[in-house]
């Protein structure tokens, strides 16, 4: 446990000045600010629609969630998996990392956990900023109806689903980035996978849920459909989330087996 903890602290120390770390913070800040600014600048038009609180929140948070879930989320996860491993490939530091008196599992698990943590921070910030900026909008445009409805449950559930459904992609990309030191192979495969995921998910192919890349889209789609009705009724643990978690667990173990057998040349 101790070596896992120090490996994790070291991961943070190493990456705190890199884009990978700051992306986790900048991405939600930029996107949420843009959406909120849109709602602020176009308040006249939106107010004409006369949305009740629930629908206003659904439109407002949906604007962020749809962009995020469809496109940015898979790429963000692919990028995280890449950059956590690339920091060692780029500097040729695998050999020193594995020559430290730490067990190999800790080194591997800390890297994986760190990527999970960054994605978690990113999504938690999305949820928190959506909530916070929504209330800020209410304060600056008093005619809005944000205060009529408390969106915390729906926000929590949506982002929790997005988070869990993206872990499958993370594990898969993590292995690709671990094995290949270059940018193109994991990114290329990730790109093709993501496109495939989007296409199969939007075509409603019945086995789309078996492709890890389509899981965030699928997980969010159900949220969207049901949020028209009773938004609180949807489950976090649906088929997509379970599939994602199974992928994540199996690939995590395979990744470790690769690391433990890997000779550092």
């Amino acid at each position: 446990m101790r070596s896992l903890y120090i490996s994790l602290v070291s991961e943070f120390y190493k990456s705190r000045k890199t884009l990978a770390f700051w992306a986790a913070i900048l991405l939600p800040v930029v996107i949420c600010s843009l959406v909120s600014f849109g709602f602020y600048a176009n308040s006249d038009k939106i107010l004409k629609m006369g949305y009740p609180g629930l629908l206003l929140w659904a439109h407002y948070s949906g604007a962020t969630l749809n962009v995020m879930g469809m496109l940015i989320m898979p790429f963000y996860v692919i990028f995280m998996a890449f950059s956590v491993n690339n920091i060692e490939h780029k500097n040729d530091t695998w050999k020193t990392l594995f020559a430290q008196p730490l067990n190999k599992f800790s080194i591997y698990a800390a890297k994986y956990l760190y990527a999970v943590l960054l994605i978690f921070i990113c999504l938690a910030l999305f949820a928190a900023l959506t909530y916070g900026l929504g209330h800020l909008l209410q304060a600056s445009v008093p005619k809005y109806t944000f205060n009529e409805y408390n969106p915390s449950t729906i926000l929590f559930n949506s982002y929790a689903k997005l988070f869990l459904s993206s872990l499958g992609i993370l594990s898969l990309q993590f292995i690709l980035s671990l094995v290949w030191g270059d940018f193109l192979k994991p990114m290329g495969i990730g790109f093709v996978g993501t496109i495939m995921g989007i296409v199969t998910a939007s075509l409603n192919w019945q086995y789309a849920y078996l492709i890890p890349y389509s899981l965030p889209t699928l997980a969010l789609r159900i949220t969207k459909v049901k949020s028209g009705g009773d938004p609180l009724a949807f489950d976090i643990f649906t088929k997509e989330v379970y599939t994602s978690l199974i992928y994540a667990a199996v690939l995590f173990v395979i990744g470790y087996l690769i690391v433990s057998k890997k000779s550092i040349k």
Partner: protein
């Protein structure tokens, strides 16, 4: 308890079909500076990586401080510091941050970082991004990283690579200091014998994965027999006379004849003999075949 810091027993290692290390019997005594010599591609770096368990060795072939490496990986690595090939440094971090990161991983005090920077003369560049360091500075930082845990055994793979003459002398003195005052064992690899000769107490010469010589530096010196070089006129007839008088001619050029050196008296007798027979001896001196040539010979014959 074994007296060896490192001991390998019939160590073999292959990359696919290619044998990189063959039946290696390495014995590095505690407290020694062991010069691990060999031309490029001889298997030095591979051996060092095996000693760090970065490459998996077969069971019961590698022992560090008497303990089998595969079954004692973490305990062993705790006692070892290493610099493998070009130093592994995070280019986006400063020199000091690189050292602090290592302190975090090893669970030691962060103040060690400043101490090490001072030791390798990088205090002024402590807050500069290490990606912008010169090759020599990177090498120093690599040495600092290897030393920071105060390990009993240091594995240094070509540590003076890229250093200027001053830097080379500093590293040399640092190694002598560490071994003599702090009782560390150092295995230092190089392809330059001259560099090893000044610091090493023990030498191992490896070529094509095989150990060709292993022993103390004096034992290596003994291998190189002294010669007597005679510069003389009329080489051809002189050679006939020398051979007829029972001397073995090792080498003959158009300017000089080389025979084995036995003693100063014998040299005198030979000189007298030549002069009495009317030859003009312009010089006659004892020459020890230098280690560089010996090293070339040893590795060439393999």
């Amino acid at each position: 308890m074994s007296n060896f810091a490192i001991e390998t027993v019939g160590l073999n290692y292959n990359f696919g079909n290619q044998t990189v290390v063959k039946d290696l019997l390495l014995q590095v005594p505690k407290g020694s500076i062991y010069g691990f010599l060999g031309p490029n591609g001889a298997g030095k770096t591979t051996t060092i990586k095996i000693l760090l368990n970065l490459l998996q060795s077969p069971a019961d072939q590698v022992f560090i401080f008497g303990k089998e490496i595969n079954s004692n990986r973490i305990a062993t690595l705790r006692r070892v510091g290493a610099l493998v090939e070009q130093p592994a440094i995070y280019g986006h971090l400063t020199g000091k941050e690189n050292l602090i990161n290592r302190c975090i991983l090893l669970g030691i005090k962060k103040s060690k970082a400043d101490e090490m920077l001072a030791l390798v003369g990088l205090s002024e560049a402590a807050n500069k991004k290490s990606g912008k360091y010169s090759l020599g500075m990177k090498q120093r930082l690599g040495i600092a990283l290897a030393l920071i845990s105060d390990p009993e055994l240091l594995l240094l793979d070509e540590p003076t690579n890229g250093l200027d003459p001053n830097g080379i002398i500093e590293v040399r003195n640092l190694m002598i200091d560490l071994a003599s005052k702090h009782n560390k064992t150092i295995l230092v690899s190089s392809h330059l014998l001259a560099e090893i000769e000044r610091t090493a107490t023990h030498v191992g010469i490896i070529n094509k994965g095989q150990l060709l010589f292993q022993g103390t530096i004096n034992e290596l010196h003994l291998l190189s027999k002294p010669m007597l070089e005679i510069e003389i006129d009329d080489i051809v007839n002189a050679a006939i006379l020398i051979a007829d008088s029972g001397y073995e001619i090792i080498e003959q050029t158009d300017r000089k004849i080389i025979v084995p050196f036995t003693s100063p008296e014998d040299s005198g007798i030979l000189n007298t003999l030549l002069i009495k027979n009317g030859f003009t001896v312009s010089s006659l001196y004892k020459q020890r075949k230098d280690l560089e040539n010996l090293f070339l010979d040893i590795t060439k014959n393999n």
